[in-house]
């Protein structure tokens, strides 16, 4: 034990690789910079009071969005490093071990610490406003969800400087990930970071189902709900059903590693395929968890910027629910090569192809919505338009992969890599960017300037095809995923080089988004109307950003596109509160406990990562203390007096 500790201490900080040392220096400098700025401008109190203790869904949304963009940057840098290594044969830019770590962190971060917070940013920013509610059902739990995500992400990213990153792929398959073959703390980081953020995700699922089922404004029946809210409902149902399965898969592997159990080992009767099944029972529906909110965003964007109601609303709802169910029945297509036999593989082939049907319905509905609409080519609409051909191609190659016999040829090749990047970038990232541009004025109160956004759009889109189309061909030529290099005589060089150029173009596109945000911050153009796009749903009836209680008076909903219908009839004023209709508003109080609970989880996770059971147990005791504190809190809510609400509304020019 003593030896083990001393040994661990020696390897505590990752040293030796110049890239990592450079990053260490950068991290220290940036952290010092942040501390300096906060101290110099006396912003510590502001940070604590306005952000770290907030339970307001609108502020939580902003924190999720910032985290998602930062993680997109980190995951993107990983991608650029990989593409640089693969640009030419026999490159020595990254060592094999370092390459393994980078493709692992790239995948894990992009799915769990970029896509997930991005969709949660959209959930939080939009759902309560769209359904006419003052917050989510459980605002305190919502803050806990955020801090569990945040500290999970922090734990994961810490691996890179302390102890070493995980290096067995984002899927972390045993027996490779068992202690015998993968000693060190990297995999423990992966397992614990994902477990912690996974608890937060389950809580978000519970929270938004309760919000959507229980908190809708009077008159908003289920079939009058905006399609984004429907998509969130479907997403949360999937979260509720599959995230616990991931938690179990991760926990069992962790028990193997920490306590020497034999769930997935090759010895003593362990069964590694059981992990792979559990992982994909979560992993495949996870794709729909990420893409359904994007579908919801496209529905809102296409309808708004075509100035038409959505075509086939009911079939859209039916498609969302069909995807929610069928998406849970396709997981085996990730390992047809397991050899489960023709009957099992046939079932999963057919169920996989079946998902294409509701998805196709949605694509045609978006096209029919645009047909004879008055289309405005704003940034959200451009991303939505670019999504359609992109995702159609992802769907087509997906159906190829779904054919079990031919899949034996493509399995784990660059054909697959190109396919899922096309689905996840063309489907999810485009959707999240469309949503970010669309709701940015609502979230922040100012618009993003279009100029640099259009540069970003074109660089990213052209870059996407240049990057990934060659990879389909490389896959068919036999190039396997996760290869850190390749020989010169395979005829792969040209296509790989082109692909790397595409990755750089996408990187430039991302930088343009960053420039666009900074430029718009410096030359702020405030959104004074609250409705900059000619929106259709309730959120556009509020000022940008809305006051923290959202609705001074809860509206009555009579139509699907309530705000649009009111505007059409010249009844916008119906949404302005009458002074006598304003009463005291009960709202939850801010609290620092969710932040502390996240911190306790972080301490527990860090302790268990290094096998320091005492530290881990102390962290968990801290979590229990936070839970007990909440249970004993007799005054978690407070009143906003009607007079204060009237003053706020008057200041907003709404009284």
């Amino acid at each position: 034990m003593g030896d083990g500790l001393a040994n661990t201490a020696g390897h505590f900080f990752v040293t030796g690789d110049p890239l990592i040392i450079g990053s260490d220096v950068a991290i220290v400098l940036v952290s010092l910079g942040i501390v300096f700025v906060l101290t110099y401008f006396k912003k510590w109190k502001w940070l604590w009071r306005e952000w770290l203790t907030t339970v307001d869904h609108k502020k939580i949304a902003i924190m999720y969005l910032l985290a998602a963009i930062l993680m997109l940057f980190r995951g993107g840098v990983d991608a650029e490093l990989m593409r640089t290594q693969l640009a030419l044969p026999n490159m020595k830019f990254l060592s094999p071990e370092h390459y393994d770590q980078i493709f692992t962190t790239h995948g894990t971060i992009m799915i769990l610490f970029m896509a997930m917070p991005f969709i949660f940013a959209m959930f939080n920013a939009v759902v309560p406003l769209q359904i006419g509610a003052r917050d989510v059902a459980f605002p305190y739990l919502n803050a806990i969800s955020f801090w569990l995500f945040f500290f999970g992400a922090l734990l994961f990213n810490l691996s890179f400087v302390i102890g070493g990153s995980p290096d067995a792929g984002w899927t972390s398959y045993p027996p490779l990930t068992e202690l015998q073959f993968d000693p060190g703390v990297g995999e423990n980081y992966y397992l614990l970071a994902l477990s912690i953020s996974g608890i937060g995700t389950i809580a978000t699922g519970v929270n938004f189902i309760a919000t959507i089922i229980k908190m809708r404004a009077p008159g908003m029946t289920l079939m009058k709900m905006p399609l984004f809210t429907w998509a969130v409902l479907g997403t949360c149902i999937i979260i509720l059903f599959v995230f616990p399965v991931l938690s179990v898969a991760l926990a069992l592997l962790l028990i193997d590693r920490l306590f020497g159990a034999h769930f997935f080992t090759m010895m003593y009767g362990g069964n590694p395929m059981q992990f792979i099944n559990l992982f994909w029972i979560w992993g495949h529906p996870e794709v729909y968890i990420a893409v359904l909110p994007a579908f919801g965003i496209y529905s809102e964007v296409v309808s708004t910027f075509s100035q038409k109601k959505i075509f086939g609303y009911k079939s859209m709802v039916a498609s969302i629910m069909a995807i929610t169910i069928i998406g849970n029945l396709t997981w085996v297509h990730h390992f047809f090569t397991m050899g489960a036999g023709p009957a099992v593989n046939t079932f999963f082939s057919i169920s996989t192809m079946a998902v294409a049907i509701p998805t196709g319905v949605k694509v045609f509905n978006w096209l029919m919505t645009m047909y004879r609409g008055r289309i405005t080519l704003s940034l959200p609409m451009m991303w939505a338009l670019a999504f359609i051909p992109n995702f159609a191609l992802a769907g087509a190659t997906g159906v190829w992969l779904a054919e079990a016999p031919t899949d034996y040829q493509y399995h784990n090749s660059y054909f697959l890599v190109a396919h899922f990047h096309q689905a996840l970038i063309g489907g999810v990232v485009y959707g999240m960017l469309a949503g970010m541009y669309y709701w940015w004025p609502k979230m922040f109160g100012f618009k993003l300037k279009e100029k640099y956004g259009k540069w970003a759009f074109w660089f990213f889109n052209v870059g996407f095809y240049v990057c990934f189309m060659p990879q389909y061909i490389l896959g068919l030529m036999g190039m396997q995923r996760r290869m850190y290099t390749y020989p010169a005589d395979m005829h792969w060089t040209g296509l790989n080089f082109v692909s790397t150029i595409g990755a750089y173009l996408m990187g430039i596109g991302f930088l343009f988004i960053a420039v666009q945000i900074i430029h718009s911050l410096l030359h702020m153009e405030k959104d004074l109307t609250g409705d900059p796009w000619g929106g259709r749903t309730l959120e556009w009836a509020l000022p940008s950003p809305p006051p923290h209680y959202n609705f001074a008076v809860i509206p009555h909903v009579t139509a699907r596109d309530e705000w649009w219908e009111r505007k059409r009839r010249g009844e916008q004023d119906a949404f302005l509160p009458r002074p006598e209709a304003i009463h005291d508003i009960h709202m939850p109080k801010n609290s620092g406990v969710p932040f502390l609970m996240g911190l306790c989880f972080f301490i527990a996770g860090f302790g268990f990562t290094f096998g320091w059971m005492v530290v881990g147990a102390l962290g968990l005791l801290g979590v229990l203390a936070c839970l007990a504190h909440r249970s004993l809190d007799q005054h978690p809510d407070h009143d906003i007096p009607a007079e204060e609400v009237r003053r706020t509304e008057a200041a907003l020019g709404r009284l």
Partner: protein, 217 residues
């Protein structure tokens, strides 16, 4: 003090709702209470899936004993142990039901008494389970011995950890009932921990069937 969130909940206004069949139960009498109970049902869905995954894993590996002790070897000789555990836990679910019934009659004293008995039975169950685990480990049947035993300790242990949480949680609610009396908030809190307790009972029935009875066969 009665929860003041109804303004956040536009669908159901006012603290004193009445249903079609007379007054609504205390725990459902505020919109906030009803939402929290609904939310807890949603959480239970996720907990069902958690146990479902553990059961599925157990069923896949329970014959993988790696020349170590088998289920029949461990449970076959001493059926009294797990029968006593079952009796304690099933009875505690019954007493928890009685507590709920007394709460609906507005009898806070008897509610607290039945809660206390439920907690005691939960502790008896935990004591028996810990003894059982200790005996098994003493016979060399450790978690590290085979995949079957890894699955056994993890599945049954996860249930035991839930019961431990339940005991701590119900004690905390009992304290609050004693301190603040029976009102819409404490009623809702007890009702939710009651749901949790009954859920653990159902999981135990499955463990009894899938782990112990199947093992003895």
């Amino acid at each position: 003090m009665a929860v003041m969130m109804e303004e956040v909940l536009p669908k159901q206004a006012g603290p004193s709702r009445t249903g079609d069949n007379g007054p609504v139960r205390l725990e459902l009498s505020t919109a906030d209470g009803a939402t929290k109970i609904f939310g807890f049902w949603m959480f239970l869905v996720s907990d069902v899936l958690l146990f479902a995954s553990l059961f599925a894993t157990y069923v896949v590996i329970y014959t993988h004993t790696a020349d170590g002790p088998t289920a029949a070897h461990l449970f076959g000789h001493d059926t009294a142990g797990f029968l006593a555990e079952t009796l304690a836990l099933l009875t505690s679910s019954f007493t928890c039901g009685l507590a709920t019934w007394e709460m609906h009659q507005g009898r806070a004293g008897r509610l607290k008494m039945w809660m206390g008995i439920t907690i005691l039975l939960g502790l008896v169950f935990l004591g028996l389970e810990i003894t059982e685990f200790r005996d098994f480990v003493g016979q060399g049947a450790t978690m590290q011995a085979s995949a079957f035993l890894s699955g056994f300790y993890t599945l049954v242990g996860t249930h035991g950890a839930h019961v431990t949480m339940g005991v701590l949680w119900m004690s905390l609610i009992l304290y609050q009932l004693a301190r603040f009396g029976l009102n819409a908030v404490t009623a809702r809190k007890f009702f939710i921990v009651g749901l949790y307790w009954h859920f653990l009972d159902i999981v135990w029935v499955l463990i009894f069937t899938v782990v112990y009875l199947t093992g003895v066969m």
